[in-house]
Amino acid sequence: MFENRTGGPGGLVSSRTQRRVRRVALYLTALIVTAFIVTPLYVMIIVSLQSPETLFSGGELTLFSTELSLSNFRTLVTETATPRYLLNSFIITAGVVLVSTVLAVVSGYGLARFSFRGKTTTARLILFSYMFSPIVLAIPLYIIFFNLGLLNSHLAAIFSISAIAAPFSIWLMWQYFQNIPVTYEESAWTSGATRWRTIRDVVLPLARPGYVSVAIFAFSVAWNDYTMVKIVLSEQALYPITLGSSLFLDQLNIGWGEQMAAAVVMSIPPFLVALFLQNYLLQGFNLGHE
């Protein structure tokens, strides 16, 4: 089988050589991709940890240094609105996680457990809105919030980010409830539990991995969001860290050190999620896309 197809004239490349080449190729790819991913991260951390004096000491960026300091982080706290931005980020993110998760659990349960006409259409609408353009949605939301006097409020930010986070959350929860056999609930009813108690004591505990995944997804959408808040918020005091720190790009008194320090601070919450909740996170990938 293999003699007549591989390796040029007469199949000179033996299977063993092929395997060895493959091994080298594997490690080489691993090395290149790792370097591609790690280099920017390393630069971010090493730049954030040097004072301006050591950072530029040779006319170039100092990339290997033992004189590390937290001075950039200190500057961020004392001379910029970073603490305020972070607080806003936490408020907005908590709001989005709450709204999306509750909506996803309630609707997911309803969609999975009851038969009604138009279910396929509902599924398509949810999936279509999941693929839709945030900016196209943001423009009318901007006008509507303006007319309602809600523009420039955390509430506007929470609702508009939830608009883009909720469709996939609902879809995920719907799939999740479908996979929980209804027999658990039925045995609870037959032993006399009310519908509400069944939901509280049987359904919700079983659905826990599902809504943890949903909450993580909503968290990452909200923590990451720039587009929606950029449009519905214009008062700096309300900015989350993404929008607030993006102003640093144009501020001359904020150097690379402070910018990278802000980047590090912003990266800590998602990094902790990746570290401790990796499996929940990957479940989102697997449930939503197969």
């Binding site: 089988m1 293999f2 197809r5 591989t6 092929q18 594997l26 790819t29 991709v33 991913i37 790690v38 280099t39 920017p40 991260l41 630069v43 971010m44 509750v102 309630v106 609707s107 309803g110 009851f114 038969s115 009604f116 279910k119 396929t120 398509r124 999936l127 279509f128 809105s129 693929m131 839709f132 900016i135 196209v136 949605l137 423009i139 009318p140 509507i144 609702f159 508009s160 608009a163 209804v182 519908r195 990451n224 720039y226 587009t227 449009i231 993006s246 910018q259 990278m260 980047a263 912003m266 998602p270 990094f271 990746a274 570290l275 990796q278 996170l281 990957l282 990938f285 896309h289 197969e290």
Partner: protein, 303 residues
């Protein structure tokens, strides 16, 4: 599925059940009405008026004609397609290559997997910070390396040089969103039974033959999904382009989302902005129909 269907009648009988159904689906209906149907309907209505927020005057398809026949529309559409296709295809190549590596018996593969999550989770703003520094004209690592190797004589401002701005934005985007392809393909790779490969090895198939005849056919669905879904998302991307180039230089990275933002928020031309939104809506709807026809994602729904 059969079990659920058989028991469904028992579930939908009774008043408390009907109440529960109402309670469960009312928020869903309210959510979509207020945050999706309302705004989209409003957009479509506005797109038929000139100056819809001021002295609104009905103009029929006037705004659409203006947008479609303007000199710039084909150019912005081309930029959008170029950005979406390049980032998606490159992400796929990186994701496929690397998931094949991580799927092997390699030392440290668990660490590599965790590492791949990081770029995907970092906020786009952080990714933009990192890449503006990496590609910075005065201090960027790439410029330093290229100058030292003698490839260029003086440092380049990547994000503001025509011809290099788009590739730079694409590179940063692949860095961030390549992991999406990686995780989906990895999950699908791990689902291929080992027995297939063992049988192929017994028959003397070379690694390349194994990839061509076993791995690739089993990944076809995942690859199609990535091309379609990731492609749509990249077509819609606003933040990374806006933050790195503002659509410049000379509009070379202005995609349709950037244009919508420019028209609406910067120029206040809501007539044209909503008409362009309407056009994007149509493009996405067509792609959506394609997605539903090819992938049938809603087939996972049980009645």
């Amino acid at each position: 599925m059969g079990a659920v269907r058989e028991r469904a009648p028992a579930l939908v009988s009774g008043n408390s059940t009907r109440l529960l159904l109402l309670f469960a689906l009312l928020p869903l209906g309210a959510f979509f009405t207020v945050l999706w149907f309302g705004p989209m309907f409003y957009t479509l209505v506005m797109s038929f008026f000139t100056d819809p927020l001021g002295s609104a005057q009905f103009t029929g398809f006037g705004n659409y004609l203006d947008v479609l026949t303007g000199d710039t529309f084909p150019f912005y559409l081309w930029n959008s397609v170029l950005f979406a296709v390049s980032t998606t295809v490159l992400s796929l190549v990186v994701g496929l290559g690397f998931s094949l590596v991580v799927n092997e018996q390699l030392r440290g593969r668990q660490g590599l997997r965790t590492l791949m999550i990081v770029p995907y989770l970092l906020p786009t703003v952080v990714v933009v910070f990192l890449w503006t520094l990496m590609l910075d004209q005065n201090l960027g690592l790439l410029n330093q390396a290229l100058v030292e190797m003698g490839i260029i004589s003086s440092p380049i401002a990547f994000f503001s040089t025509p011809g290099l701005a788009m590739p730079s934005v694409i590179t940063a985007s692949v860095w961030k969103w390549g992991s999406f392809a990686f995780f989906i393909i990895l999950a699908n790779l791990q689902a291929i039974p080992d027995a297939y490969y063992e049988r192929a090895q017994v028959q003397g198939a070379s690694p390349w033959q194994q990839f061509r005849d076993i791995t690739f056919p089993n990944l076809r669905g995942a690859i199609l999904l990535i091309l379609l879904v990731r492609g749509i998302w990249m077509f819609n991307k606003f933040d990374i382009i806006w933050l790195t180039t503002r659509g410049g230089p000379i509009n070379l990275t202005t995609t349709l989302p950037i244009r919508v933002y420019d028209l609406a928020i910067r120029s206040g031309a809501f007539g044209s902005a909503t008409a362009l939104s309407g056009i994007m809506f149509a493009i996405l709807a067509v792609t959506g129909v394609l997605y539903f026809t090819v992938m049938e994602p809603e087939a996972e729904v049980k009645d």
